[in-house]
């Protein structure tokens, strides 16, 4: 059944491509810029984002563009480096004359670009997670954000932990922007949930062994370990946790939400608890979940096209692209009006949340961006 659906969809896409390219060609393209960390230390963000943005562009162009205008997408690799990002942003604005910018991928590079887009008056939809990107609104007139803040994930996790009767938690985090942001929220919100932080360990993104940190934590009498990182260390910590036979549960950040991590951990991931984005558990989402159609569509398209597992991060680019497309469709190629549209966007259903923005909230995310899951039999199982 599914396969036939796919084939039909592909045939449809091809047909629309032929028609659309003929249709869209005669109108001036809409130029959109994108700044993604395709290579470098944050490529786990930038690569799926780039892939997704290109895919969405192709989809829109294949279906005849926006009001007949095709999208022209300019993607530059920031390597997660502020210097490169600044130059690339200037290039997008001055050379490519884009109507709006999607990205940058990381919080740091997003912050570096904020003053540039504000000055040039170019709307930007950042794919960084930090709360500072979207606030204070007075200083972020042209800046919007699609990624749920870490506070949402932390709150969901603490809520669950509280129900499990956990009183003392040990934090481990990677010493990058991703880890430090999560670590900050973990420390800040713990008292609200009556949780005491008994250890706060960090490690580098290329750490090869974390048994020393785990051993130190064992000596603190913690009830649970929370690891906030992305990439290889979160697999290493999972394996080390199993190897050391540590009897307390291991919680991970939403970055763990990839089947690949379960596979790399080679069985050690059984029992790991983490908040994940809906895209990770797309197949199990009930149909009544309002995100279900978006998430399932995105997952199907991405995995078909790129032959790899869809990631939560690519979903940010999906949301950003479609928000921009909606704006362009409604107001046309006018930067100021695109900004106004994005600022008052209501009821936009994205991968993680339903967006309801306002002049006082340039993020506009709901509180239910994540779902708690546990690894069971090599797959995710929804908790509660």
């Amino acid at each position: 059944m599914k396969r036939i659906g796919f084939v039909l969809a592909m045939v449809g896409v091809c047909a629309v491509t032929l028609l659309g390219s003929a249709q869209a060609a005669d109108k001036e393209p809409y130029r959109i810029g994108a700044l993604f960390a395709v290579t470098g230390p944050a490529s786990f963000l930038g690569e799926p984002e780039r892939n997704t943005a290109e895919m969405v562009k192709d989809m829109i162009n294949a279906s005849g563009g926006i009001n007949g205008h095709p999208i022209e997408l300019f993607v530059y690799d920031t390597e997660a480096n502020a210097t490169k990002t600044v130059v690339a942003a200037k290039k997008l604005i001055n050379r490519d004359r884009v109507l709006a910018i999607i990205g940058p991928s990381t919080s740091g590079t997003s912050m570096a670009v904020v003053p540039i887009v504000n000055k040039a008056e170019v709307p930007m939809i950042s794919c960084g997670a930090s709360l500072k990107i979207g606030a204070p609104v007075e200083k972020r007139k042209w800046v919007f954000k699609v990624v749920p803040g870490d506070d949402l994930a932390v709150r969901l996790m603490y809520d669950y932990m509280k129900k499990q009767g956990i009183k003392k938690a040990a934090i481990m985090s990677v010493s990058t922007g991703y880890g430090i942001s999560g670590r900050g929220q973990l420390n800040k919100l713990a008292p609200e949930y009556g949780i005491e932080i008994v250890a706060d360990e960090t490690y580098g993104p290329k750490e090869s062994d974390l048994t020393a940190q785990l051993t130190k934590i064992r000596g603190t009498g913690a009830d649970a370990i929370i690891n906030w990182s992305i990439g290889p260390p979160q697999v290493v910590v999972t394996r080390n946790w199993k190897q050391l036979g540590i009897p307390i549960p291991l919680y991970q950040s939403y970055g763990f939400g990839s089947k690949r991590n379960i596979k790399l951990a080679g069985g050690a991931a059984e029992g790991v608890i983490c908040p994940v984005s809906r895209i990770v558990i797309a197949n199990r989402l009930p149909d009544e979940d309002p995100h279900s159609p978006v998430v399932k569509r995105y997952k199907a398209l991405y995995e078909e096209k790129f032959k790899g597992e869809v990631s939560v991060f690519g979903g940010h680019a999906w949301d950003a692209m479609f928000q921009l497309a909606a704006a362009l469709k409604a107001v046309g190629p006018d930067r100021a009006r695109i900004r106004d549209y994005l600022e008052t966007l209501q009821g936009f259903v994205g991968n993680n949340s339903i967006f309801n923005r306002s002049p006082t909230d340039h993020v506009g995310l709901g509180k239910d961006a994540y779902v708690m899951v546990v690894v069971k039999d090599g797959d995710w199982a929804i908790l509660e």
Partner: protein
Amino acid sequence: MDSISLGSQVVQYIFTGLTVGAIYALVALGFNIIYNVTEVINFAQGEFVVWGGLILAVLAESLGIPLFFSFFISVGLVSLVGTVIYWTGIRPLRQPTILTMIMATIAISIILKGLAMFIWGKDPYAVQPFVEAPPVTLWGAYIQAQTFWVLGISVALVVALTLFYQHTLTGKAMRACADNPGAAGLVGISSGRMILFSFALSAALGAVGGAIITPITLMEYDRGAMLALKGFGAAILGGLGNFYGAVAAGFLLGLLESFATGFISSSYKDAIALIVLLGVLFARPQGLMGSSLQGDE
């Protein structure tokens, strides 16, 4: 609730330090092998480790070739990479000064990293432990089986290298270069062959490091630079060109990091290791590598 006695913690830190230190030691040895013949630090050394691990992952996990064979094929292939590097990147250098050779090795490391990204992508790869076995309990500490492989193979390599340098003709010739660095020069057929051989050997050593550590740590394309830096630190701490120094310094750095994590702060473990390293460097009497002006000849 979980707890662990101080003694068990110490044992755990020792084994963690030794495991990590073994890799530093192997990288440092690789530096020394090339340094002794050419007086050059090959900054692409870390990439050999990465390639060793990644090739092993492909052979053993994706192609399903038995681990034993995969291991040797991987080491052989990386050693070939080392040879190719010498032929294409080092030998064609005109008027090679130490600085241009270092620049060349940095450029080569960039190329190798770029190639690895192209071939394997950006995701990490895993390899199963050499032998599936439960962790060993030692005074309340848990030691994974692979750790013993890492330590055993590292020690075996050091012994083999020592025998090689003392008892084979090639080894003796390379040692002659080491005893009189510079005098052998960078020109001439025989020293050219020695350099070629040193690249192949140090690449093989790096590959072994990558192969034995990947089951513990995973491996991905951009890990090389950090490994090279740590290994460089070990090579310097041990005294450039000194094999036993490199091994001792590698283990020492690994232990320092793991104890600093355990008893001070994991945030500053690298800083602590570096401060110790700098302290040793600054306190080192001038005689060895210091100013020849004040030395006693």
